[in-house]
């Protein structure tokens, strides 16, 4: 279990930005898009063997050519005298049957990522994910910011369109960040390393949808641009967000027209269109289950090939 370095960049006082797949791929899209825009250079990888099984095999005319594992890659770049480290994980090291990282493997991965951060003089780490909430997809998502130290609260409150947990829905400052986005904050805290998780809002009715949610990724990128004091061209992500918006609208129309969707669920979703603060009342487990069943039905067959393994 180790990190393979191709280069030893000379970095100091660096900031690390980490992205993993998750709901709507909000975090990884934001961080990876930023990495691409800044032309960050790859310099290290975490060996995959102890964390992941191969996800793809390539066999040509009887010869096993290669196995492909999920990559966990480090990049670096200097922007305006600020050294940046990026970590992009193509998969979270989940135990069998779980979607997000937890347990010993996740902890070991978090430790390895922070070993690299500290090796290159990192003083702050940002992770990014999704905040599932009752908003409509036509509304600009806010960014929920969770620091691992009270010293960071004042700074985070200065960023536009950014809220702390205490200002979010429940208003009690309580919650849970699942997977490595959350675990990394905890492990960093143990090392007395500053860390912040930036979570873009996503409508609850899209949390199981198989498409990305670029509108929330953009919100996260806007905050990061402010933090890093850089200009970002959002043209590409705006166009993607527009296409996804259209897909969502079509998806909802299909959902509304399908038999078995309770009219009150449609009313609840549509009410969100007009006011963020609308108190909608609880959605029952049964209603939620029926929504998810229809999502499953709509996308049935997409993973059909996964049934065959060689």
């Amino acid at each position: 279990m180790s990190v393979i370095f191709y280069k030893e960049p000379q970095l100091k006082n660096s900031i690390m930005l980490c992205g993993w797949p998750g709901i709507g791929n909000i975090g990884i899209s934001a961080i990876d898009t930023l990495r691409e825009m800044l032309h960050a250079e790859e310099f290290a990888q975490i060996e995959p063997w102890d964390f992941f099984n191969p996800r793809k095999v390539l066999i040509e005319d009887g010869l096993l050519k290669d196995l492909e594992f999920p990559k966990s890659t480090f990049y670096f770049q200097r922007v305006k005298n600020q050294d940046l480290l990026f970590f992009i994980g193509q998969q979270q090291p989940a135990e069998a049957g779980t979607r997000y990282a937890e347990g010993q493997k996740a902890y070991e991965m978090a430790e390895l990522v922070l070993d690299v951060a500290e090796k290159f003089g990192c003083w702050r780490v940002y992770t990014s994910g999704a905040a599932v909430t009752q908003i409509h997809h036509t509304i600009r998502p806010r960014v929920w910011a969770v620091p691992n130290s009270p010293n960071l609260v004042d700074e985070l409150q200065e960023y536009e369109n950014t809220i702390l947990m205490s200002a979010a829905e429940a208003g009690e400052g309580q919650g849970m960040i699942t997977g490595l986005n959350g675990l990394l904050l905890g492990v960093a805290k143990k090392r007395q390393l500053e860390a912040v998780c930036l979570m873009g809002e996503i409508p609850y009715y899209l949390q199981a949808a198989p498409w990305p949610y670029p509108k929330a990724s953009k919100s996260v990128m806007e905050v990061l641009a402010k933090i890093l004091n850089i200009e970002i061209d959002f043209g590409g992500i705006d166009r993607l967000a527009e296409r996804v918006d259209k897909t969502i609208t079509q998806f909802l129309e299909t959902l509304y027209n399908a038999e078995g969707i309770p009219p009150q669920v449609k009313e609840q979703i549509e009410a969100l269109r007009y006011a963020r603060e609308t108190r909608l009342g609880p959605i029952t487990d049964e209603e939620q289950k029926r929504i998810m069943e229809h999502i499953d039905e709509l996308f049935k067959g997409e993973d059909f090939d996964d049934e065959k393994r060689v």
């Binding site: 102890d50 066999i59 065959k308």
Partner: protein, 272 residues
């Protein structure tokens, strides 16, 4: 990572044996039945096992066909035929560590010369057709060795099976290895596909000079075919579906489901 993952109960003297790897769950029950058949016919003895605690959930035991089962990962050897068998449940966790434990025993202790994995691949074919064995090799030299055999070379890109992972790791260690993928008609995937089991055993018997008496299996093949022929004679829809497959046509999802259910029900009945 593989330290203490395995435990020897005996230290037989081996002379660069071939090794056959099979898994407990497979379409047409091909892999477990091939390994069980070899276990019986080759008069093998167990000599090593991989300890389960790192690789399997041990929160209880599973129950299959009324019987409590526990993951077993055991090596056997046949003194007469210089063959090692490894039969196991596929690991739930730490595949890398588990597969390296197999290869540690195979390479460091047994000095295995060639490794075979036995697997089924579900296909849209009729049971009356031939069971083709597709092969995947981890070395060009081994591929050339089997060039004129009955094996067909596979081409595939997609999700990786544990056998492919084992093959890849064996290749990294320089152990020549081949995965055998015998085609099983989709409607026999949930039951025993005796022709596929027999075909695989015949190939292994010829390749490794194993003196295998397959008469018992021949009888099972005959009985299974008779039962399905009887079903075809009684049920026109099933007959048409199988005839379509024989003609190389695809079936609708509903036709496939009907065929699977009716054939399974027919084969469950004891006797002729």
């Amino acid at each position: 990572m593989t330290k203490n993952a395995y435990k020897f109960s005996a230290r037989p003297e081996l002379q660069n044996p071939a090794m056959i790897v099979g898994w407990d769950h497979d379409a047409g029950k091909l892999s477990p039945r091939v390994l069980e058949y070899l276990n019986r016919r080759l008069n093998v003895e167990g000599f090593c096992r991989i300890e389960p605690e790192r690789f399997f959930s041990l929160g209880g035991v599973a129950i299959e066909h009324d019987i409590a089962v526990f993951p077993e990962s055991r090596f056997y050897y046949s003194r007469n035929y210089n063959v090692i068998l490894f039969k196991s449940t596929e690991p739930q966790f730490e595949q890398h560590g588990f597969l390296n434990a197999i290869l540690d025993v195979a390479q460091q202790y047994c000095k295995v010369k060639e490794l075979f994995t036995v697997n089924a691949v579900i296909a849209g074919i009729a049971h009356t057709g031939s069971r083709v064995i597709s092969a995947v090799f981890n070395q060009q030299a081994l591929l050339r060795k089997f060039h004129n055999s009955e094996l067909t070379n596979m081409t595939w890109q997609g999700p990786a099976a544990v056998s492919s992972y084992l093959l890849w790791l064996a290749g990294k260690r320089g152990i020549p290895a081949v995965s055998l993928w015998t085609k099983v008609p989709f409607y026999l995937a949930g039951v025993e596909d005796f022709p596929a089991i027999e075909k695989t055993l015949r190939f292994l018997g010829r390749t490794l000079n194993l003196d295998l008496d397959l008469k018992e299996l021949d009888d099972q093949v005959r009985l299974q075919n008779e039962k399905i022929e009887h079903l075809r004679a009684q049920d026109t829809e099933i007959d048409n579906s199988i005839a379509s497959l024989e003609g190389g046509f695809e079936l609708s999802e509903q036709q496939q489901m009907d065929l699977i259910k009716r054939v399974a029900k027919t084969l469950e009945k004891p006797g002729r």
